[in-house]
Amino acid sequence: MNFFNISCKKATYLVSKKEEGKLSWLEKIQLRGHLTICSLCRKFEMQTGWIGKHAGHVHVEAVLPEESKERMSSALKEVGE
């Protein structure tokens, strides 16, 4: 164990922190070193990056029940009067 060796747990945390551009110079070196030798944490980085990219595009096609829409319409009418 030396100064530059970090665990997988720490490395995944640094991956998350890196995404926000908040790594110190030491952390950058530690993370780069770890990712070079650890394919599991490389996968973690790739997969969580991918999840973040797709989370914003979640699209569901939900339809409100008619009675809900009617309620909304009458609420709008009420304030309009």
């Binding site: 997988c8 944490c41 997969q47 991918w50 914003g56 979640v58 339809v63």
Partner: protein, 187 residues
């Protein structure tokens, strides 16, 4: 002027389903999503004089709706003032020397990470996985990745410190990744 640009009579017909579809995956609760859509319309009605027509009626309503969603998270954060848990479920993914455990180590997903995703299964599983997160983790995740807020805004809205924010985001990602792997990749 605003009467010309806005058609409140048509709002429900034109936008209710779209706003609802947007809100639902962000709050995970049908009744709540419906309430937020209704509040969106009422707030829009009250603010109609301020509508200058810079944006379309639709995107103006969506902006109001987004603010309703963030407000909801802000209020919810106040209700659940709890110190950051020292232990989290995701700690179990690592062994005593903090290496991935055999059971929870990332597997090969066998997908092209650069290709577009058009997969209903993914989103269904994603929703289910998101629901399993602790409320505060969900809030942070949705605000960052689905509402595109920056970390300073999120910390302020949820009244959490920057370092708590890292930890929450990180735990959310660990768990979502693990849950997706178990339930979507291995479908």
């Amino acid at each position: 002027m605003s009467q010309v640009l806005l058609n409140p009579d048509k709002w429900v017909d034109l936008y209710a389903d779209a706003l609802y579809s947007y809100t639902l995956p962000r709050v995970n609760d049908a009744a709540l999503a419906e309430d937020l859509v209704q509040e969106t319309f009422l707030s829009a009605w009250k603010a109609r004089e301020g509508f200058k027509g810079d944006a379309s009626e639709k995107s103006w309503l969506f902006t109001i709706c987004k603010n309703k969603i963030i407000d909801h998270y802000r209020k919810k954060a106040k209700d659940i003032v709890q110190p950051l848990a020292e232990k989290d479920h995701s700690d179990n993914y690592f062994d005593e020397v903090e290496h991935w455990t055999q059971e929870d180590k990332p597997a090969d997903w066998g997908i092209d990470y650069n290709s577009a995703l058009d997969n209903k299964d993914f989103y269904r599983v994603f929703e289910a996985c998101k629901k399993k997160l602790q409320q505060i983790q969900q809030s942070v995740f949705v605000m960052k990745y689905m509402e595109d807020l920056d970390s300073a805004e999120i910390c302020k809205a949820l009244d959490i410190t920057a370092s708590n924010y890292w930890v929450l985001i990180h735990r959310a990602k660990l768990q979502l990744r693990g849950c997706l792997e178990k339930n979507w990749i291995n479908l």
